[in-house]
Symmetry: D2
Subunit: 345 residues, 4 copies
């Protein structure tokens, strides 16, 4: 780290910063400039936050040099990680499509979507049994009953499924049924949930908090890897900005930033990211073009009657059109298209 001293800091203040850094195990290199002095501190002390130094007399600011994450970093592991959900590899050359309804509403609704997305070429089924809802008066999910329906849909279609977990007390139950556990945006910094879900060893689909920086998102993944579970799939789903035309602002640059700094696979959710089915197709195309490893798409047999997120859910026929558009695009950007057929074979 680099400690920048205020203009006019005394030599005694500089020496005192050096002594404190040395106490903490760093070697120090003060550099005396014309207006300001800086102290270079050498040593790998990720756990030490800059807070231990910034309050010493004469210190203006502390500039960290090392990234705060380690296990998720491409500096530690340069080859891209492939996470398997059921038999489906996420993070390889194929683009993986996870599709299904926002919430599991009934066995009939779920099975009809599952059959449809399977036929259209999706690889993984998604659907919520435990729903975090902004309003206490909104539909909160079918809970274990929903998990059972998801398991039956898997049995019938062969699609593995991912579903959200929102409470540490439900982790074991959800892990009993699901092929992968989703941590939603609102829980990205629910660190106990990260640890508990991580400890199951199941693949974790970690959505970015809508006000989380990429660095904080990677730190959340670091919690899971630090709990001994390397199977993390990151998911960009839009951040909150001043622009009201879309529900969130999908941050596709974040995919490129993650790919540069981490070995973990990253997918994109254009349904939540835009909040409107009309924008799902163009943004799904853009996500594949920017380098995402897959997509998470909401599909509902009758969006106008969905209990949750209807406005952003695709009609089955629109989903089919999306799948048709993605195939040539994936090839054009040098990716394989993982067809459902190749998965079954």
């Amino acid at each position: 780290m680099i400690v920048v001293m205020r203009p006019g800091a005394t030599r005694e203040e500089v020496l005192s910063v050096c002594r404190r850094l040395e106490e903490l195990g760093f070697r120090t290199h003060p550099i005396y400039g014309q207006e300001k002095t800086v102290v270079g501190a050498i040593g790998d002390k990720r756990a030490l936050s800059s807070e231990a130094i910034v309050n010493l007399p004469g210190v203006e600011k502390v500039v960290p040099i090392l990234k705060p994450y380690k296990l998720v970093s491409r500096e530690l592991k340069d080859t891209s990680t492939i996470v398997r959900v059921g038999e489906i590899p996420v993070g390889g050359r194929g683009i993986v499509v996870m599709a299904g309804p926002c919430a599991v509403e009934s066995e009939e609704q779920l099975l009809s979507v599952a059959r449809f997305v399977k036929a259209a070429g999706a690889h993984i089924l998604r659907g919520g049994a435990f729903k975090p809802r902004t309003s206490p008066y909104a539909f909160q999910g079918l809970e274990e009953e929903g998990l059972k329906m998801l398991a039956r849909a898997r049995q019938e279609t062969g699609l593995p499924f991912v579903t959200e977990v929102v409470d540490t007390r439900d982790v074991a139950l959800v892990a009993e049924y699901a092929d992968a556990l989703q941590i939603g945006a609102r829980n990205m910094q629910n660190f106990r949930l990260l640890q508990e879900a991580g400890a199951t060893g199941k693949p974790i689909l970690l959505k970015r908090g809508f006000a989380a920086t990429v660095e904080e998102w990677l730190m959340a993944a670091e919690y899971i890897l630090d709990a001994g579970n390397p199977n993390v799939i990151l998911c960009e789903r839009g951040i909150r900005t001043f622009e009201p035309a879309t529900r969130f602002t999908l941050d596709l640059s974040a995919v490129a930033v993650v790919k540069e700094n981490s070995h973990l696979p990253v997918i994109v959710d254009p349904s939540h990211g835009t909040g409107s089915w009309k924008y799902v197709l163009p943004l799904a195309r853009a996500a594949v073009a920017v380098g995402a490893d897959g997509l998470l798409i909401e599909v509902h047999p009758d969006p106008a009657r969905a209990l949750c997120d209807g406005p952003q859910s695709l009609h089955p026929e629109t989903f089919d059109r999306l799948m048709g558009e993605l195939t040539p695009l994936a090839v054009a950007v040098g990716r394989d298209w993982v067809t459902s057929g190749s998965m079954a074979g």
Copy 2:
């Protein structure tokens, strides 16, 4: 709600929207304009989200007319709520100061701060035993041992205490010790935690999520009131913006917005809101002037050696200066100054 039809929507589409609204229990009033038709829908259906309508053919958008919250609303209850933490009334004419270290680090550290803030006039002790930390490598709190130290500090100083709970599984334990439970910004939409904490009946200090709108914050409070617990104290602690000069941007307008729309008390945390002890004094003054019912302030006997949030913690002597500045200010804005003495009496 008002349903706005697209330009060119057919009369059949308008009728079909009316039929669907009537099915859902609304009375409808179509208004045919020159370019667009709108349909007014009358009926109190808060639980019904606009999603049920917005996907119907010909619909451009749905504009809600009623606010989504009810129990926290000043429309329901016009008199300001006073929440008692121990014997201390929050939300009355007095300005309440809650102060203490970010994290409980040791009995010695806690007691020294507790004695100090008591002497300086604070009314409630704060301190974290369970800490949500961005990095898995940072200090995570003393857990139950920390709660016991807080209880001893209460016994010695007479100050009731508030402390954070981060996991549904810890709620009962924390509630056994604490006078009030804090829900942190990162958990504002951890709805299970809201329900579980709400169910204890203890006062809840509900921090605003750093990317939550005021409406979402009030909806989170609605979860707690809906769980049967009216004792919610809101706490503004800064939102995330593009400005890097402060750690967050303290949104003092939000205090005025809350006061207009809700009967709940609202306090301000300038320590987290600015991230720098240098800015705590001016922003604490501004919080009192804007109409906040109290302050949450981090104080540490030796900020340069704090295990958490040192840069934003006040030295005891700076805290003392703050308390001195606030007294005439409270009077100037027509508030009483709840002195520690009057509490003891």
Copy 3:
């Protein structure tokens, strides 16, 4: 527009709102609900802002129903506009690439880039002669000398050029040389400059302000169309958010929103949008996939010695790689690739 009355508004207040609206030329339809009354107001009064009503006694808020823009709207003109820069059509089936240095630094620098980008297949040359710089101590541009160099580069390569204008007093001069005038992000709401540049009749490349909503951006274009000039090309170049990993957050959803609401062509600037050459390629691909009509790319023969925006400028060989990647992508999303050759022919 819809006027929402406060709960408890009196019948006299409602009638008074109706009278005021009728004075202003609207027909009114009050709807009396259980908690609130709303008044529908019919009539096309775009010039009338809601401000005339919102302050009347008993009014809670006013919800506009019509969009504030008209001339740029797809509701007015459903066919996509094609703007010609020199001979190059922008907004048709071809993807148009505008490339060149941030600033014109010397004739040698400019010509070398111009020859290179022409050979790689770019269609339009870009380069700044008048530079708006955050610091008064930074290079401010070669002014008219730079315009002359751009004209010589056009003569040699056949590429038309676009260049920025920053002062109403320079508009005539710049229009004398340039094929298209750029209005930069910082001047998007410099309404006098919009009017003056619009009045030249030259094509206007209108960058989105980095804190402008899509609606405000379209309103800025409306100023130019209202000045009698239909030749506006919109350019998304990133918005300001809390995320520090990129210089701005490129808002590719905005391209889809513009395409839905306006007939104007829209291009994307991934160089400014990300601030880092490493991210230009993936985001340029994403821009084409999302449906942009073209790209604006910074290229410099020696980015490490550029006087402006070096970090986001592509080396010529990287630009060449980009052009190679875009060709199959354009075809995969159903666009023609406007090759330089086809332009010359």
Copy 4:
């Protein structure tokens, strides 16, 4: 500046960075760490942006150590600057109130407001003759006729006035009439306008752009000081965030940040900052408490019929109440209350 090399950067790359820095006039100090090497560069080269270095092979990032501004900085000039508008000192112990209508609409409207705000104790009259409006269809101001009305109002009331200038071509005209020139938020980075207005030597009221960082705002002021004009008054007027409850988010922390880093006076505009007259009083109080040197307040004799910004304009009687509230508050925070009477004497 500190140059951080990538992990794995070669010794040759480090030496090459050192050579380039030395060419540019710096002395260099490489520090070899375990994972990364950093190079400290000593020398005062504000004009040199980090761009010259960041693109060299092996460089990860460049961290500036010196602030980019100089003339506005408290490091250069530690005593607070007092700017005189007419006879009124801004930046001293007194709190200065500038009040008046958003736009000058007629002589009658202006005079009635001017007399009123004078009587209520305001020190400076404000009013717009040239209006930057988001819509080309909105009222654009009375131009020179408006300036003449402002001059007549000054003559009658003795209040000096500040008014906005939006075009370099109008600067001389506006300066002929006005006591101070306002640069609006949308023009904060209209650098030509800054230079031209600065060159008049008149006091400049520089509003913060609604997406400008405090550092960019101070850089804009630096343009004016660099043009030889030290009379700059900064004005915080709200930034754009995700929160829709207020039109902008008033950033009162920015006042504290400016006071720490610059010697220039800073005032606050709660009218634009909140967009709603209901919030003007509490935020005006907060602005005084946080340490602002003054306020800019919109007042209109009949807000419901204002041609501009009616919703945020105060009725005269509300303005009177505000002035009454501010007096004890100013005293409570150790400021004088500059009464209109003391000014006249």
